[in-house]
Structures are given as C-alpha cells and as structure tokens.
Amino acid sequence: MRLQIPLAIILIMGLFTIVTSFVPAKPIADLNQTFRNWYIGIITFFIFLGTFNLVRVNGERIKTKARDWQYSIILIAALGVMLFAGFFKGRASLDEGSPFMYLYFNVQFPLEATMYSLLAFFVTSASFRAFRARNTQALVLLLAAVLIMLGRVPVGTSIWKGFPDVTEWIMSYPNAAAKRGIRLGIDLGLISMALRMILGIERSYMQ
C-alpha cells in the first residue's frame, strides 16, 4: 500500500500527462489545467516546508548548543523580522516604500549580490592558476577563451575591428554545434530517466 499507491499515482499522472499533451479537446485540456494548478499548489507547500525546516533545524541547534549555535539565533531573528514585515499590514506589506521593501533593497539585495560577486575573484584566480595549456585540447580551449574575451569587450574592438565578428561566428556555429550535441544527449538521458521513474523501474528517490 505504502509503495503501490504512490507507484500507481506516478504511473497514471505521468502517462495521462504525456498522452493528453496531444489531445486538444476541451474537457481533457481543462482537466489537465486543473491538475497543473494542483501541482503548482503542492509545489507552494514545498517552499513553505523549506521555511519550516529552516526554523526546525536551527531551533534544534540552539537547543543542543551545537557548534556556531549563536548564528542560528541571528538567522531565526532575521526570518522573524522579514515575516513580520511581510504580513503585518496584509497585502499592503509588500507595497513600494514599505519596511519589507526597505529590508529587501538594503539588506537582502546587497548581501546576495555581494556574495555572488565573490565569484569574480575566484574566476580570476582560476584563470591564473588552473587555466594551463597542458595538451592540444587544453590549448584549443584556452585560445577560444582568450579570443572570445577580446571579442566581448570594447577594448578588443579597439585592438582589432574583427574580434566581435569572429566572436559571433564562433558562438553561432562551433559553439552552438557542440552545445546542441551535449543537449541532445542530456535530453535523451532525461527522457529515459523520466520514463523509468514513471514506469516505477527507478524508485531510489522513495527511500
């Protein structure tokens, strides 16, 4: 029961979705739309669950005084502040100029943008330390990279007017060709995995 019914659900929903992708008739299409709306509804709870889990895990860490538990207090406090800001005036809490938006633009925004901007340093460091022409393949990779780097910035154009055209050509043909090859392979991998999951052959996700 605990295994059979879920396996039946995934089989029925999967096959129904595939088959009815080709059926335009209104009753079927409407039913499909309803199922998809349910899907979106359930997915919403995934995210609520994530929030809930965050509180639980960090609450646990505070309670057991695990390593770095003090930070968990900060986390829960930040979450609490944001939730309060997002709900205290009902829907209007999210309007422009509200405390919620101030927190977004002045705390959340700079934190996230800065965190990702750390990657600028790592990419430079990687270029210096890891980008080595160890063999012919690596040399080709390196040359393509340098060429495109010059073609994507105005200073490249000042050095040689042809860089942007060469860049566009490489992006549009050899690059697109290889990406298409990879993509087709990945799509096939995805289809076969999806099919095995729908048919209940692959069930490791249900541990």
Partner: protein, 213 residues
C-alpha cells in the same frame, strides 16, 4: 531607487564589506552576514509566495466555494509528514503526483522544445542553391561547421561501441568542438562575474561613499 541616503545605505554598505571580508578568510562577521541573508530570504519567499500565489489562487477561491482546492492543499500539507520518521512515507503521495505531472511534461517538452526543432535546424539551412548563392561565404562555412559539429559531438556521446576506426576519428573531432565551445563559454562568462563585482563596487563608491558622482 527606493533607497534614501542615510542609515539604510550604511546598512547596505557595511553588509557588503562584511561579505567581502571572506576574501581575506572565513570569519565571524562574514558568517553573521550570511545567516542574516538566509533568514531574510526565507522570509521573503514565504511572504511573496503567500501574497502572489497561495492567497489569491488557493485559499481565496476555497473561501469563495471552490472546494476542489482542498485536494492540493491537503496534498501540500502531507509534505510536512516527512518531519517525522513514522509518517514520512505519506510524502510519497504528493511527491509522486508532482513528479508524474512534471516528468510527463518534461518528456514531451524535451521532444518538442529541443529534439525536433534542433534536429531540423541542423539541416534546414542546406537549401539547394542557398548555400552558394544566398548566404555570404562565412555563413555557408558556418552552417557546414555546425553540421559537422553536431554530428561529431553526437558520436562522442556514443557509449555502446569502442571509439575506434571512423567512430574514433569522428569522436576525436567532436572533442575539439566541445573544447572550442567550453573555451568560448568560459571567455564569455567572465563578463558575468565581473559585472557583479562592478555592481557592488559602483554601489560602494557612489551611493555609499559618494566618491563617484
């Protein structure tokens, strides 16, 4: 900008520096900033999800008498059973429902979004005459390169035969196409990384420190 000059800009500026302190080494100030971020963004998602979707599309219609919405809400609540070991098997109902719908859609979408148009796009430029008359020289060469590239990379991903003979040659050419593509992408993506740094430094120098106009 919604920002005012004043305390809020200071908050943003100091938090930016807090994150950058990681570059020297991992430290408590960085950690604190990171935990604030995780907490805030979780709260942000919850609020937005509620006001932009859950309330208008799920709960409000339910209150107005659309009782069908009980099904997704009930299945959504079942997600919470995974918090306990004894009830966690109930997660399988919403999980398999969601997977069934999304995997079914993915199979069809991979075919109609990628396979069919991408395969056709590889040979469709080879219109009779157009190769040598309509296109300019480098475009014609480009389409031939595209064709060769797609065919050889496909052979590179061939696993049921040893890469020997013709297959070996073809997959070898395929590798070079892959290397050009990866090199090109690497070169192209540098811009994304620098952009973020530019964005933050520009903020620090203009909005916060007012050094720039």
């Amino acid at each position: 900008m919604l920002m005012t000059t004043g305390p809020w800009v200071w908050v943003a500026g100091l938090l930016t520096l807090a994150i950058y302190s990681f570059l020297y080494k991992d430290n408590p100030v960085y950690k604190m900033a990171e935990y604030i971020f995780v907490g805030l963004s979780a709260g942000y998602w919850a609020a937005f999800l509620w006001w932009n979707y859950a309330y208008p599309n799920l709960f409000e219609p339910l209150a107005q008498g659309n009782y069908w919405n009980i099904i997704p809400i009930a299945m959504g609540l079942m997600m919470f059973t995974q918090l306990s070991r004894r009830t966690s098997w109930m997660v399988r109902f919403p999980l398999t429902f969601v997977l069934g719908v999304s995997l079914g859609l993915q199979i069809v979408a991979a075919v109609e979004g990628d396979m069919v148009p991408q395969l056709a796009g590889t040979f469709s430029p080879f219109t009779r005459g157009a190769m040598f008359n309509t296109y300019d020289f480098w475009t014609s060469v480009g389409y031939i390169v595209l064709l060769v590239g797609v065919l050889t990379t496909i052979t590179y991903f061939f696993f049921s035969k040893e890469h020997k003979g013709i297959l070996g040659v073809s997959s070898k050419i395929g590798i070079y196409f892959l290397m050009v593509a990866f090199g090109a992408s690497f070169g192209y993506t540098i811009m994304a990384r620098i952009s973020l740094l530019f964005g933050r430094l520009h903020f620090l120098l203009s909005d916060w420190m007012h050094v720039l106009k």
